[in-house]
């Protein structure tokens, strides 16, 4: 009996980690596609494509940056041959010494997907410290919220942006 109990507990602990239990709704049942459309069966189902990509716990349940960096997907950078494809590697630290950990903004994953002009100079000026960020605006779909909450990981993932404890930042600045 005790063995059974131990087995039950082990099964509970191991099961969620071992199996990929991600689920995607079929197009005909997602609430926005018209199930009466005969062409619907010709379209790729989300589960078919997304189940093969690195997992995440929010959004499409896919870690899109990891998918790109690992080579699981190889999306084209440009269609026009004359386009200058720009990638930038530095990190900007913003929102320092507030009630939340500071925000580390990594240029690399952002510029792998986007062009500089998608954010500069309309959403943000190109000068560290010159932008006033507001969670209110972000939650309203402005600033970072243009993408985060719509196509990039959602705003419930606080610690993925607010990732640098202020004590660590302070120690770094003193050095």
């Amino acid at each position: 009996m005790r063995l059974l109990l131990a087995l039950a507990i082990v099964a509970t602990l191991v099961a969620p980690a071992a199996a990929d239990d991600r689920k995607w709704l079929p197009l005909a049942k997602d609430g926005i596609h018209d199930p009466a459309n005969p062409a619907l069966r010709l379209k790729q189902e989300p589960a078919e494509a997304l189940s093969k990509l690195p997992p995440d716990t929010a959004g499409n349940l896919v870690n899109w940056v990891r998918a790109l960096e690992s080579g699981a997907i190889a999306p084209r950078t440009n269609i026009l041959p004359e386009t200058n494809v720009r990638v930038r590697d530095d990190e900007i630290i913003v929102s320092k010494f507030g009630s939340m950990p500071a925000v580390v903004f990594p240029h690399r994953p952002h510029t792998l997907w986007l062009d500089c002009s998608n954010c500069h100079e309309k959403l943000f000026v190109s000068k560290a410290g010159a932008n006033r960020f507001s969670m209110q605006k972000i939650l309203d779909g402005e600033q970072c919220g243009v993408c985060h909450g719509a196509v990039a990981f959602p705003l419930t993932e606080c610690n993925r942006c607010h990732s640098l404890p202020n004590e660590v930042l302070l120690r770094r600045m003193r050095k």
Binding site: A8, A39, P46, P75, N118, A150, V151
Partner: protein, 127 residues
């Protein structure tokens, strides 16, 4: 002992039967209905997940000039037929052409243009 066993089994049952995410369209799906309802065709469903496997954001939002705001782009079928916006790829060679209406115009009629996910949350900004 029996009570502990029952508790253990209950925990296992809960883990197995845990409800999955509530019924909703895929994150980043865009409904485009500036004109569709008026023209008597289904609204367009644009799936970001499908396109970003093949193209980076910058291809459409920089090279092709799509504004990053659902409903902000005034795209006509004329534009598409002339190789602009969606027509850059949906030309019948790179991807299916504009003659395959139902593949893009696949939404339930009567829906407003929006992004599923959404650009706005129901968080404090809306209270």
């Amino acid at each position: 002992m029996r009570r502990i066993c029952a508790l253990g089994l209950l925990v296992v049952a809960c883990a197995l039967l845990a409800p999955h995410a509530a019924s909703r369209a895929e994150y980043g799906d865009v409904v485009l209905n500036r004109r569709s309802d008026g023209e008597g065709v289904r609204p367009v469903i644009f799936p970001h997940w499908f396109h970003r496997i093949r193209f980076r954001c910058k291809v459409c939002h920089f090279e092709l000039g799509f504004e990053m705001r659902a409903g902000a782009n005034d795209v006509t079928m004329d534009d598409i037929a002339n190789g602009k916006f969606c027509g850059m790829c949906h030309d019948g060679k790179t991807a299916w052409g504009a003659d395959r209406c139902d593949l893009c115009h696949a939404g339930k009629p009567g829906q407003p243009s929006r992004i599923v996910g959404g650009a706005q949350t129901s968080g404090p900004g809306r209270w």
